[in-house]
């Protein structure tokens, strides 16, 4: 029994002992774990860092009552008092004014944080300001992201655009002579001359580099010499024997350098041609090509267009009773997209004979002059009781009738087509027949007497290709190669070309019949842009509508000339393509200063004008826009507070 009690007490003892041990262990465990989690509360500095960030991010510069900041505003260091303190700090930092940023940060933040704490302000990990207290316990960080700020980038910048008001350029001008005649017969001693006078203007500020005369004439190649071409009243004279005829050919094609003969301002060329046994006349492809430098004001494309296209003054003089007559082919052009097109033909014909057709012993009235518009059907003829035997005058003096002058106009709007239009006018002669007595004159003097001249007045509306000032550059490219009934050439506009101004094919033929012109961006060009409306009605200028061309430098434009009769088209035929170079550039990149923005605008303007414009002669004005923000960054602003 006693033994059992002892055992039970021992068990109790061990149990209590185990219990005490367990309590000690658990207590120890709890003590250890509680001491492990014991930590100083960091709520205070956590709030401090956030509060400091919030204050700096909310307070604006003008809200600070601070003499230091007032001084910065006064001296211009602070440009926008509506900036928050953080943004202002960021602005100094972005502008690389680190000392200023440091002083500013110190000035605005020192009073906000108790001296027992350390803190720092950093932007994109670059410390702006720090209060150097040692980190003894906790460190708390608050961050803020601000877009629009980046190191060494302007926070608010400038953009600028520029336009040229005056430029210097090198360009070409074509003065074309379309087929017209005629100088009838006579004798070598008494030539039946035709006098053609063309007036033209070259920019008064032009400095002419070279002038080439492409001469395409049908005239007498034998007999005595005479002066054929007189440029500017004797400045340059080309006699028949100066011209280079192909052997046995009356159809002349020659090229003469007439640089020095043509001036800036008003010029004139007088042609004096004659042919024994036939009429003398101009063939397609006669023109002056003038290359010059010019300084001029930038031009502006308008919506309303009103142009007068003048005839040359043509005077045919009867010689040796052989009769006189004058004819002319006047091309004019209507661009794609033109609306409200109207055209009126004004004629001033002088010394027209009231021609008579002799029928047995009496006379019928014969027509005196004819007008064709884009057709081989007569548009108008004087008189209506017509007869084609207009050459009876040569045989029967009475058939010449009386001379009279005729002035009047015709509305030809209904006949006008987009592209090339041709008015053909025959006075006292047609084809191989001539009926005029004495002189016959198609009168025109576009500079001195424009209103009384013969011309087509063309009006139309056209939306400007470009909405700002432009520089029109014109280039001339020869078809080249040997004569052939079909000639092809191709060209691309340069990269600087912003829009097409106009493109012409200048057809050079010694003998023409029906000529067709094609333009396209593919080869062979499939778009026929012109076909002679009547036999031999081939103008020197054929307009290629823009719609068949592409201004891109990457696209090749093809032009084909095709003479259906099998006659040759000469390699001297040219394509003249004009394009607009912009004189304006819009906004570019954003810069830190107005000067940089303006210089950038000028550089860009010079770039778009390319090599065609002499940039040293540019006159520029420009306008800039300030306070343009940029999506820099975002910058990360960090405030750290510690104790």
């Amino acid at each position: 029994m006693m033994g059992q009690k002892r055992v039970s007490r021992r068990a109790l003892f061990f149990t209590i002992d185990a219990l005490i041990a367990a309590l000690i262990m658990i207590g120890g465990l709890l003590l250890i774990t509680s001491s492990y989690v014991s930590e100083q509360p960091r709520t205070l500095i956590n709030h401090m860092s956030q509060d400091l960030m919030n204050i700096l991010g909310e307070l604006q510069v003008h809200e600070m009552n601070n003499t230091y900041i007032d001084a910065l505003v006064t001296n211009g260091s602070i440009k926008d008092v509506n900036n928050t303190l953080l943004v202002q700090m960021g602005e100094f930092w972005a502008d690389d004014y680190l000392d200023l940023a440091n002083e500013f940060a110190q000035n605005v933040s020192e009073g906000m944080v108790s001296g027992i704490f350390g803190y720092s302000i950093a932007i994109d990990n670059e410390t702006i300001y720090t209060r150097i207290n040692p980190v003894t316990n906790s460190l708390v960080s608050s961050k803020k992201i601000i877009s629009g700020i980046q190191k060494s980038k302007p926070i608010k910048g400038f953009v600028a655009k520029a336009r040229a008001t005056s430029i210097s350029k090198i360009t070409n001008q074509i003065i074309s002579f379309s087929p017209e005649g005629s100088g009838w017969d006579g004798t070598d001693a008494n030539k039946g001359f035709l006098y053609i006078t063309k007036w033209f203007n070259v920019s008064s500020s032009a400095s002419i580099n070279n002038v080439t005369f492409y001469i395409s004439l049908h005239l007498e190649d034998g007999g005595s010499d005479w002066s054929v071409i007189d440029i500017n009243n004797g400045t340059c004279v080309l006699d028949r024997d100066d011209l280079n005829f192909d052997a046995g050919e009356e159809g002349l094609f020659d090229i003469q350098d007439v640089t020095g003969c043509v001036n800036s301002g008003t010029n004139n060329v007088v042609l004096q041609i004659w042919n024994n046994g036939y009429n003398a006349h101009l063939h397609p492809g006669m023109y002056l090509a003038i290359n010059y430098n010019v300084t001029e004001d930038v031009s502006y494309l308008t919506t309303e267009h009103s142009n007068r296209i003048f005839f040359d003054n043509i005077r045919s003089v009867e010689a040796s009773g052989d009769g006189s007559g004058a004819w002319s082919m006047l091309p004019f052009h209507v661009p794609d997209g033109a609306t409200n097109v109207s055209a009126v033909l004004y004629l001033n014909l002088q010394e027209v004979n009231d021609l008579q057709d002799r029928v047995w012993w009496w006379y019928n009235d014969a027509w005196d002059f004819r007008v064709y518009v884009n057709s081989d059907t007569v548009f108008y003829q004087k008189d209506t009781g017509d007869s084609n035997d207009i050459n009876d005058c040569l045989s029967y003096g009475a058939a010449c009738g009386a001379d009279y002058n005729w002035t009047g106009s015709f509305d030809i709007s209904g006949e006008v087509v987009t592209g090339t239009n041709v008015v053909a006018l025959y006075v006292n002669n047609y084809g191989d027949t001539v009926g005029g007595d004495g002189d016959t004159v198609i009168y025109s003097d576009p500079f001195s007497d424009p209103d009384n001249s013969s011309f087509v007045e063309l009006n139309y509306s056209l939306t400007p290709a470009l909405p700002y000032g432009v520089v029109d550059i014109r280039r001339v490219q020869s078809f080249g190669g040997s004569p052939d009934p079909t000639k092809d050439t191709s060209f691309s506009f340069p990269s600087e070309a912003e829009a097409i101004s106009s493109v012409y094919a200048h057809v050079a033929e010694q003998y023409s019949y029906i000529t067709r012109v094609y333009g396209d961006t593919g080869f062979p060009p499939g778009n026929m842009v012109f076909e002679s409306p009547a036999s031999r009605a081939v103008p020197t200028d054929v307009f290629i509508p823009d719609s068949y061309l592409d201004v891109s430098e990457l696209v090749t434009n093809y032009i084909r000339l095709d003479e259906t009769s099998g006659n040759d088209i000469r390699g001297e035929s040219t394509v003249e393509y004009g394009f607009y170079v912009p004189s304006f550039v819009g906004y570019g990149s954003v810069f830190g200063t107005v000067g940089e923005a303006n210089n950038d605008a000028i550089d860009r303007l010079q770039d778009v004008m390319g090599s065609f414009v002499n940039v040293s002669d540019l006159v520029l004005d420009n306008t800039s826009m300030s306070d343009v923000p940029s999506m820099w960054g975002p910058a990360v602003i960090e405030v750290r507070v510690w104790n």
């Binding site: 709890l30 774990t33 819009g586 906004y587 306008t623």
Partner: protein, 326 residues
């Protein structure tokens, strides 16, 4: 009996031991639960801290989004201005063009140089990178952008979008629909009407008149209004189009209308109208000479109409010219 008592005594001891064992087990369980409870607290503190950080990031995104809207919006306005000047044609819809520039950096499908790296999606990308750097996924689906006037001199750009913010470890996420705006002053922007109607030869920027309420006076006569005209200052008038309407060549009246007087000598080489046309820009651009005009003594060429706006206020009253028109 004794045997029975002995068994009873033994069983009492067993109960005692059992109680002790249960107590010990209870103590162990208690200590474990205390420790476990602490672990949960610590975890929740971490989560709380994380959620707090994300919440603060969200607030920062909100604040910076306003900034981004302002920057992209300001540049988009320049972009429209540039397009109108470069093409010489007005836009069909200012709002559509603005949104295209703001979001895509293009106008009519063509890139705008001023919008390169300055579109709103560019900002989303950049801010998304910042978010990723701190372990946050950010996506913002813009569902609407619009621009309208809040007053004649200020436009407000509204952005509506669904913002999704989530922790990379899926600790927490936010899905919010955001409607945030930024106000942009139109002062300093170019008046597109002048650009188009003068082929970019005359550039005028919006600037508020300094003679408000003081256009004429006994002491100054018409000196101030003359300077207002010659300096091409703008005044608000509800009988005129707003700044935004001018991009569309919509020259009708607006609550937020602003207007200038054109200098006829300056603009007529590029846009000529009959002499008897009011110099008020929106009327002059239309060459609307059917509206009766008045002259001011000793002011050659100046013409002003007397259309109404701002309630019954007429233009002559607006510019205080009642005593000067003839």
């Amino acid at each position: 009996m004794e045997l029975i008592l002995g068994r009873v005594k033994k069983s009492r001891k067993g109960i005692f031991f059992t109680l002790i064992a249960v107590s010990l087990l209870g103590l162990i369980l208690f200590s474990y639960s205390v420790t476990y409870s602490y672990t949960l607290q610590e975890k929740s503190a971490v989560i709380e801290s994380r959620v707090d950080s994300m919440n603060r990031f969200l607030q920062e995104v909100d604040t910076d989004m306003e900034n981004a809207i302002y920057i992209a919006g300001f540049r988009a306005l320049i972009g429209i201005e540039d397009e109108v000047a470069n093409t010489g044609t007005f836009v069909t819809s200012t709002e559509d063009s603005f949104e295209e520039l703001f979001m895509d950096g293009t106008i009519d499908g063509q890139n705008s140089s001023v919008m390169v790296n300055n579109t709103f999606p560019y900002w989303i990308t950049r801010i998304g990178e910042e978010a990723n750097a701190v372990g946050i996924n950010l996506s913002l689906n813009v569902t609407g952008v619009n621009i309208s006037h809040v007053d004649p001199w200020t436009v407000r750009v509204w952005l509506i979008g669904d913002l999704n913010l989530s922790d990379l470890k899926s600790t927490a996420s936010w899905n919010q629909q955001k409607e945030i705006y930024a106000d942009i002053s139109v002062l300093g922007f170019e008046d597109p009407s002048y650009a188009v109607y003068t082929s970019n030869n005359v550039v005028k920027r919006i600037n508020t008149t300094v003679y408000e309420g003081n256009f004429t006076g006994v002491a100054t006569n018409t000196t101030n209004i003359r300077d207002h005209v010659s300096s091409t200052m703008y005044a608000n008038f509800t009988g005129a189009p707003s700044f935004l309407m001018r991009f569309e060549n919509n020259l009708t009246n607006s609550t937020y209308g602003i207007e200038s007087f054109v200098d006829k000598a300056e603009v007529s080489p590029y846009h000529a109208c009959p002499t008897e046309t009011s110099a008020i820009d929106s009327i002059y651009w239309q060459c609307d000479n059917g509206i009766q005009v008045w002259q001011v003594a000793n002011w050659s060429g100046f013409r002003i109409d007397n259309e109404t706006g701002m309630g019954n206020l007429t233009r002559i009253e607006r510019y205080m010219l009642e005593d000067y028109v003839i």
